[in-house]
């Protein structure tokens, strides 16, 4: 596994900018693709980037961005959380059930979502870290359990927007200076998480664990606690996303978020967070989420036949991870050549 952990110390010659560029290539290539896509769509249909268009784009992507940030923290430790989609669905329904017909505040709803999410995350995390069982199996199991609980509880019933208090709905529709709350919230979570991973010792240790668990253990990193924390965080984010989902849409059915886990994992993978752990940044994952959402919106705006949309998304997904991989291989061999000199 290659890691970006050991960044070379900055030197004064031109090498620095090259190395810097090279190490950021993943995020740059995804960002470039995103810009191209947006520009292309905008040229084809100027309505894509009017006020409402931008607002829609931001709103549509913010929940996925949140989930991708939470997921990448787990993936960086060489684990995976497949239960995020169902946890989001369950918390959305639970929050809706909790506020239906009452005048509870948005704050309590968010708190409830966070709490439920943390509990789910802690269960998965404890099984993975203390039970020492493969993350994919555990979180697949959790996916079924949470989904089953959600469906059994909802049982064909749905939460309707008319019963959701205005204070909660305002969280999903309100804005500051024309920017809706949702993307602002996602941006805050993104920046905070990115800063934490990059700057704090415990954040760097997550990379160490994903890069080489055995070496991390020998270096004295409390692996189990860190992995547990990563899952708790991912769960909290999923729960938070559930509360926001309720605020944004008001209407919640049991299977609203079925299948999301794979979309979230796609966003993370497209964003250059290696599924094998130890590499990547939350910025990349957020860009990946933004890219996936933008592809969806662009295809609608460009009036692509709806039957074609999923196939095109699939091709672009494959193209993104393939390009990313080729760039990575090229830069690795370039760096090797450079260090040989």
């Amino acid at each position: 596994m290659t890691t970006t952990l050991d960044k070379p110390a900055p030197t004064r010659d031109g090498a620095r900018s090259l190395v810097d560029t090279v190490f950021r290539a993943r995020e740059i290539s995804i960002g470039g693709a995103l810009v191209l896509l947006i520009l292309g769509t905008w040229i084809a249909n100027p309505g894509f980037l009017d006020d409402q268009g931008i607002k829609d784009l931001l709103l549509n992507s913010s929940i996925l961005v949140l989930l991708a940030v939470g997921q990448s923290v787990v993936v960086i430790t060489r684990n995976i959380d497949l239960s995020v989609g169902s946890v989001t669905g369950l918390t959305a329904f639970a929050c809706g059930h909790f506020v239906s017909g009452t005048d509870r505040s948005a704050f309590t709803v968010v708190l409830l979502g966070l709490g439920l999410g943390v509990v789910c995350g802690l269960v998965s995390g404890a099984l993975v870290s203390f039970g020492r069982v493969p993350a994919l199996v555990v979180t697949l199991g959790m996916l079924y359990v949470v989904q089953g609980v959600d469906h059994a509880w909802a049982h064909g019933e749905q939460i309707n927007a008319v019963n959701v208090p205005d204070a909660v709905l305002a969280l999903g529709t309100g804005s500051i200076l024309g920017i809706p709350y949702l993307p602002l919230i996602s941006a805050v979570v993104l920046v905070a998480t990115g800063y934490f991973l990059r700057t704090y010792r415990s954040g760097r240790e997550l990379y160490a664990i994903g890069s080489n668990p055995e070496a991390a253990r020998l270096a004295g990193i409390p692996i189990r606690r860190r992995i547990l924390a990563a899952y708790a965080f991912s769960g909290a984010v999923a729960g938070f996303a559930g509360a926001l989902w309720l605020a944004r849409f008001g209407t919640v059915v049991a299977d609203a978020t079925n299948g999301w886990e794979l979309t979230v994992v796609s966003a993370v993978v497209v964003g250059g967070v290696a599924i094998t752990g130890g590499t990547g940044a939350v910025w990349g994952a957020a860009l990946g989420a933004l890219l996936l959402t933008t592809i969806g919106s662009a295809l609608v705006v460009l009036k692509v036949d709806s039957f074609w949309q999923q196939a095109i998304t699939g091709v672009l997904l494959l193209a993104a991870i393939t390009t990313d991989r080729i760039v990575q291989v090229r830069t690795t061999s370039a760096l090797r050549k450079r260090s040989r000199r």
Partner: protein, 325 residues
């Protein structure tokens, strides 16, 4: 690993569980052990069982194929579209199988030549193949398949003298072949080698890339065949047939004790896992347990299946500790 795993293998435990579920069902639920019900229960798991065979090989080799359910849907949609266009059914089947193999080859090519992790690749092709299915058939449903073929997949038509429906009989044959290949041949050993340590396997002379490509191709081929079975069984070709089935297949295989990290597992265990989930689902349905609760039971079983051996071995380790010191 430890005392527990030294004497009792997980696939044995799953098999015992399977027998226990069967006996409990036969004892408590009228009609469960009837041959007609067993035929129906087995037929219901036919696609999952078929796809689980190559999936076991893939997981043993440290890979995974999440695109199988989408390939099932694509094959079903293609069969429907071609039947609609007036093709002969005898021609449709090989075309669908070819498409399946080609889809599998694409997975294998991306994994081996580009060097991408199979989880990432097959998430991409999961979306692509499902998308192609809706391109091929849109939101139509094609239903009027020839009776002779639809009968072939129905649980009411069984191999004479037994209660085994034809797709299941075919599965049994394929399972025996796969078991022999996995456990009795050099090829099978090389799969375990790749799963345990890919680099070591490569230096030991295993043609890692070629084998991986072949595995993905077979996986695609079998998934497309399962798509035909699915179409005939439900008498309906749709682009969204079998959505989400990939997770059930993987859950069954993992439940059977095949290690997701590769290098460990038995085909018998995987088959027992498939049958356990299938029979349990049937038993719960007969007892009017809702589908939601069945989903929860599957999840708990899956978690228990990975947790139990570890808990038991941890306990027995602790108990044996004084002797060792």
């Amino acid at each position: 690993m430890t005392a527990f795993t030294k004497y009792v293998r997980w696939d044995t435990v799953v098999t015992v569980l399977l027998v226990a579920v069967f006996l409990a069902g036969a004892g408590t639920t009228g009609g469960f052990a009837d041959t007609s019900n067993l035929s129906a229960a087995l037929d219901d798991t036919a696609e999952i069982a078929l796809i689980a065979l190559p999936m076991t090989l893939l997981v043993v080799a440290g890979q995974v194929d999440l695109s199988v359910a989408s390939m099932l849907g694509l094959s079903s949609a293609l069969a429907g579209a071609l039947w609609d266009a007036g093709w002969a059914f005898e021609l449709i089947v090989p075309v669908c199988l070819l498409v399946g193999a080609a889809g599998g080859l694409l997975n294998g090519w991306l994994v081996t030549r580009i060097g991408l992790p199979s989880l990432a690749v097959t998430i991409g092709t999961l979306t692509l193949y499902r998308g192609l299915a809706s391109v091929v058939l849109g939101d139509k449903a094609v239903a009027d398949f020839p009776d002779a073929y639809a009968q072939w997949a129905a649980y009411t038509r069984t191999v004479p003298g037994t209660f085994v429906p034809y797709p299941v009989a075919l599965f049994v044959v394929l399972a025996v072949i796969t078991a022999v290949v996995l456990h009795c041949t050099g090829f099978g050993r090389s799969l375990f080698a790749i799963g345990a340590q890919e680099d070591a396997a490569y230096f030991a002379g295993v043609r890692v890339k070629r084998i991986k490509i072949a595995l993905f191709a077979v996986s695609g081929l079998v998934a497309s065949f399962a798509g035909i079975v699915y179409t005939l069984r439900y008498g309906s070709a749709r682009a969204d047939n079998g959505i989400g089935l990939e997770l059930v297949v993987i859950a069954s295989v993992l439940l059977g004790g095949v290690d997701f990290d590769g290098g460990k597992g038995t085909l018998g265990g995987a088959v027992a896992g498939v049958l356990l989930i299938g029979l349990l689902g049937n038993l719960l349905t007969l007892n009017d347990v809702s589908n939601e609760v069945q989903v929860i039971v599957t999840g708990l079983l899956l978690i228990a299946s990975v947790l139990t051996p570890r808990v038991i071995s941890a306990v027995s380790e602790r108990r044996h500790l004084p002797d060792q010191i």
